[in-house]
Amino acid sequence: MKLIKKQIPLAIVFITGVFTLVSYYVPNKTSIDYIETMNKWQNIVVAFAFLLGLVSLFFSHYHKIARKADGWGYSIFVFVGFLTIVISAYVSGGRQMTDAGLTPLGWSFKYIYNALSGTMFAVLAFYIVSTAYRSFRIKSLQAFVLFVAAFILILGKVPLGQIIWDLALGWTGAGVDQVIEWIMQVPAVAGKRGIMIGISIGAIVTSLKIIFGIEKQYMGKD
């Protein structure tokens, strides 16, 4: 049992991981074919897994409706939305556009789905404002540095801010645009690169842990 539950999966992970790693250094067609085959397998697994997701979605919302749990009314919309799209796709033969114009499926995407997605994305603008307000509450030295950098950036992006800068600090000879460029090109890039280097090394080490079977929490402990 241990062989099936532990050793075989670990061997598959090791062999697949080493082959994938080696393929980065081997440009041969065999290596390219291997990666393409793995990608195809991944797509097949994803397609089957999507069915699992659908079943999970339906069951959880079905149980909510059956139990009359809080907000069960919203769960009805999952089924209504699903059926609407499936029926319109069936009626439209899977096409969004024909010579006659938008099909019911195309209409659903253009006037319902796209509109809703756009609305969610637009909400970001409001959240950015409230987040900016929160970040401007100076509670520590780091928050103060963040505030100063953000304040200069905001100042430099509006004409009134540029006039204020020129009046107050014009005598220094440094334009606000130069200060902004320096902030964006030097401390911001330095911090970003530091984070990226840490991330890259962390990703390599995490991959090694998985390939060599040191990290196997995803399989359970027994």
């Binding site: 980065y24 250094y25 081997v26 440009p27 041969n28 067609k29 065999t30 290596s31 390219i32 697994v45 994803v46 999507f50 699992l52 997701g53 659908l54 999970s56 979605l57 069951f59 959880s60 149980h63 809080d70 907000g71 919203y74 809703l116 997605s117 969610m120 994305f121 909400v123 970001l124 959240y127 950015i128 409230s130 987040t131 900016a132 929160r134 970040s135 970003k192 984070i195 990226m196 280097i197 840490g198 991330i199 090394i201 962390g202 990703a203 390599i204 080490v205 995490t206 991959s207 090694l208 842990k209 998985i210 060599f212 040191i214 990290e215 929490q217 995803y218 399989m219 359970g220 402990k221």
Partner: protein, 408 residues
Amino acid sequence: MFASVLAASPVFAAKSTLPPITGFTAGDMPYDSGSIALLAWDADAGGDTAAAVSPGTLYRVFVSSLETGGWIKAAEFPAGEKMSKNIELPFWAWKVQGNTHALKVELNNYFSGFKDGTVFYFKIAKVKGAAAIESEVVSSVTVSNWFRLDRLNNLILLIILIIVFFWAVFHARRKGLFIRRIAGLDAIDEAIGRATEMGKPIFYVPGIGSMSSISTIASAFILGEVSKKVAQYDSQIKVPHYDPIVMTVCKEVVKQSYMEAGRPDSYREDINQFVSADQFSYAASVDGMISREKPAACFYMGYFMAESLLLAEVGATSGAIQIAGTDVEHQLPFFFTACDYTLIGEELYAAGAYLSKEPMLLSALKVQDFGKLVVMVSVFFSMILVALGARFGWEGFVRGILHLFRNY
């Protein structure tokens, strides 16, 4: 394609005053999959070095699978460009030839399904106004290579990391390692305790990454530790998913954690729930759940894009303790401002080991530290050497240093 197939043009056959093309060779491009041919010819003889090139002089490069006819124009560029020094390979993998043109021809763009050993023919024409001169026809076969010598620097670094990795793992068995505190991870207990006291659920959001994303894998490890604590405290956890495969893996992880905590009876199948595979539908749905259920704590661990702020801001408004972690550096500012604790990139990878406190996993953190030390020392000395090289005009030396740290 047929429009670009050229027969031998009478223009090229015309007598020309242009100097002849000499030293024209065709060969296999090294370190590739066998789809690129490398052409080279002398620049000096044609008087077309960057300084000497006369305006309006062009090179046209033709390729064919037949020895005569069927020519396809593969490139056209002004004389003085595409020199040997412009080939982007490091000094250990490419020897720059003085004043020599070097051109890579992607054969896949013109011929499909060819095999190793297929012979291709090449010729070039030098054109200026009505005058033109053609080279002789040369042939070459391309082969699929077995090693990317240009990535040797990368391979050496990887081998060093692997050696240090195994050293650290074996070292971990002998004695304990000091690991610095990570406030965001220490706060997990506090968050779960709060949820237990308030009788409210915990939301664990694994992001929109697939299972092949390292941050999602790290998130699954953290979920294992978090759900174990949730099971011990007999609290509630909800894990809304974007990716069905991630959901399947997380189901196993959570189930295992409940078993390890000795509470298999508390495990429910609906802890992990698929929501949507569409980014904004997912964000809207999770936002709705957070708004309605007012969780005591929200964890955002994994790969996030624009939905990071949509989720974190709603969580902050609902009054939950929020702990986030991602390796997407441009989403970090949003988490910093909207969450109580944020794990930056590598801390996310370290979190599973940190929480599990297993010596073998903790030892890998030392490898991360070693990697950062290597980078810091390399950056420091390279900075000095490059500055010195630039000061004294050692162009080749500076290029060599930069090649050492470049990804090919």
